[in-house]
């Protein structure tokens, strides 16, 4: 609290100087005045948090000055220093709400003690103010556990938080909870301290983003929470953590390390909508994904409304167009155990920037695991496949291509094209009437069989990538233009 401003008013210049020297050890901003009038004048300019004053002074006495200061700024903390213990004066001091009364001659120990107390009181008032101002913006739920942090230390906690850890007071809380983030238990896809992950750092670096955490209460029950950090404007070291208990939803088992989860495992759509409703109440961002001719189009969205079997979201025009063209969309949030696919676009309002989605269900694949940018080329293309230096003469088609791999469509599959087989590819692609040639060694990654064709993915081994970067960039730009061109259809 070095940054608090302090005013000392005393008509004895020697005492004033000495007190000033002492105060400099505690505070960086000290003002001194020899009478009440000067003191009040300084106070009006500097709005000191703490005023220490004598009583009998020329021009204006200390109590009159204090009274005027209290009228201007009732939160000001006033400490009276006086040799007199006149009863009337004491009564007036109490009426004024003076913080402490110290007897002259001033004992430095007593002053230092009073200052510590007054600073603690100011801190507490600040914490309470921050807490109350920001509390109502975070959760409507009274049941949420909410704490105010200052430099990662809990400085205020609401009743549900104290009850959860079975603490009667904040100081008991400090004794019981040595490190808050250590309370977050390990669970797949959840937030907890491990390897290089420091849970509180992650929360603070991603304000407003919901995370799943698991904690044990004082009765050794494991509960599942959605936790979110909110920073406080202009108060760099402060933040609020809120924990929303979602244990009742019984979703813990759905968070696994397995990407190929059992889709059938989550058929309870009521739970899915409850989860979406929870995200909506938390004003959590969700991420939308569409794939137009291989091009990933992804933007943020907010859930505006959840109904029994549909949700209404808001997002930008570009994503709306992509949804309109594709007729579906993938919804991703770190707070969700899996991606959700909406198979029906019920309604799009470009004016409101809103989209109503239905036929929602969890899906196995996550677009987040897709690491590279793939594009579907134009029809103008030519592919030559060399196996053991012999060219495969059938017509081949590039289904999509990225910097790492190409997927080719075969009507007939040549013999010997097994997984891991090394081949050479010569691909000529055209974009904006410009031809791009890719000569690369490649290896078969996987094969897929369809009714009348086969798809084979080849991983590129070694080749000069710059031409392909240029091609993909140009193709990507052309696809963006295509989407924008579909505007009036």
């Amino acid at each position: 609290m070095q940054n608090l401003k302090v005013l000392y008013v005393e008509d004895n210049p020697t005492l004033l100087y000495k007190a000033g020297e002492l105060l400099k050890k505690f505070f960086s901003h000290i003002d001194l005045a020899l009478d009440g009038e000067k003191g009040l004048e300084l106070f009006k300019k500097q709005h000191h948090s703490i005023v220490i004053t004598g009583i009998n002074m020329p021009k204006m006495d200390g109590l009159t000055m204090a009274q005027q200061m209290q009228t201007l700024a009732p939160q000001t903390k006033i400490i009276i220093v006086s040799a007199s213990t006149d009863k009337q004066m004491l009564v007036k001091s109490i009426e004024l709400g003076v913080f402490r009364f110290l007897e002259k001659p001033l004992n430095p120990k007593e002053l230092s003690h009073a200052l510590n107390e007054v600073v603690a009181e100011i801190k507490h008032e600040l914490h309470t103010k921050l807490f109350q101002t920001h509390l109502k913006h975070i959760f409507k739920h009274q049941s949420a556990l909410i704490i105010l942090l200052h430099d990662n230390k809990i400085v205020l906690a609401n009743e549900p938080f104290l009850n959860f850890f079975h603490c009667q007071s904040l100081s008991e809380c400090h004794e019981n909870i040595v490190s808050l983030e250590e309370q977050f238990l390990a669970h797949p896809q959840f937030l907890y301290n491990h390897e290089n992950i420091k849970a509180l750092d992650v929360l603070q670096e991603n304000p407003q983003k919901p995370y799943n955490v698991k904690m044990k209460n004082s009765d050794a029950q494991t509960l599942h929470f959605i936790v979110k950090y909110q920073s406080i404007p202009e108060q760099e070291h402060y933040g609020i953590l809120s924990f929303d208990d979602v244990t009742q939803m019984n979703f813990l088992t759905h968070f696994t390390n397995e990407h190929n989860i059992q889709e059938e495992a989550i058929t309870d759509s009521k739970l899915l909508f409850e989860y979406l409703d929870l995200l909506s109440r938390n004003h959590a961002d969700i991420q939308l994904y569409n794939f137009y001719k291989g091009l990933s189009i992804s933007n943020k969205a907010n859930i505006m409304q959840t109904n029994d079997d549909s949700i209404t979201i808001t997002t930008n025009y570009y994503q709306q167009k992509a949804m309109q063209i594709e007729g579906n969309v993938l919804i991703v949030s770190e707070a969700l155990p899996h991606s959700i696919k909406a198979n029906t676009i019920e309604h799009i309002s470009f004016e409101q920037q809103s989209v109503t989605l239905s036929s929602l269900h969890f899906v196995k694949t996550s677009p987040v695991t897709r690491k590279t940018i793939r594009v579907v080329p134009q029809k103008e293309q030519h592919v030559s496949l060399f196996i053991e230096d012999a060219v495969f003469s059938e017509k081949l088609l590039v289904e999509d291509i990225s910097l790492d791999a190409v997927k080719l469509k075969f009507n007939l599959l040549p013999p010997g094209l097994h997984t891991g087989k090394k081949v050479r590819l010569e691909i000529v692609l055209e974009q904006n009437k410009q031809a791009f040639t890719i000569n690369a060694d490649a290896e078969v990654l996987r094969k897929q069989e369809f009714e009348e064709s086969f798809s084979v993915v080849f991983m590129f081994q070694s080749f000069k990538k710059s031409d392909l970067v240029t091609y993909i960039t140009k193709r990507q730009m052309a696809l963006i233009r295509e989407i924008k061109g579909l505007r009036n259809e």
């Binding site: 992804s298 933007n299 570009y318 690491k371 910097l403 970067v469 993909i472 990507q476 730009m477 963006i480």
Partner: protein
Amino acid sequence: MNDYKILYDNGTHKCIMFSFDDETHEESFLSVNQYLIVENDVGFLIDPGSASIFEELYDAVSEHIKVENIKYIFFSHQDPDVAGSIAQWSISTKAKFVMSSLWVRFMSHYGFTQMDRVMSLPDKGAKLKLSAEYVHFIPAHFLHAPGNFSLYDTQSKILFSGDIGAAIVASPQAYKQVTNFENHTKHLLGFHQRYMGSNKLCRAWVKRVHKFDINKIAPQHGFVFEAKDAALFLQWFNELQCGSDLIEKLY
């Protein structure tokens, strides 16, 4: 000028300066700097520039770090000489793109559509941990772009200032460092008077950056300011009359 200069290196944390210009526009005499921070195996690329220099910069960066280890690419603002290669970098890396929230929606004009890879910066700024140390994104709005950030690297104490401190000069030397600040102001003045918003904004930025211990100021164009010259530049910029201060002259 196709060279690089190590601005800082303590063995685990390194700052590298590149100066790739668009050679097709050499007559415009605007030298452009790109920067790379490498901390352990985390790469952080700063203002990688236009599509025309992508290939050269890609090769140069690969000399210092595996491209797949570039975790973040930061754009101080939206100009083509800063962010024009976003599509190329998005194809070639798995990096996240850090920029002002104001410019995210404009990135599709550069052929970029994966907004899930964008970390959009709030107006008041933010900080980010590389592997051990933090970088701070310091608001520098309207200096010159309305959504604009400087970057402060806590380990090297270098302030990457974007267009602030930019000098309109050709790029003849291997390493471009200010040696005589007084003399250098003639390269600074015209650009800053016309590109920067107002003295009020300059002062707000200087006040902000004064909170940090600065060893070097590394702008996106022109010369690097080292210790004393960095302080002189901040003084000069604090007093600069520019933009709306010169409204009578402009209209």
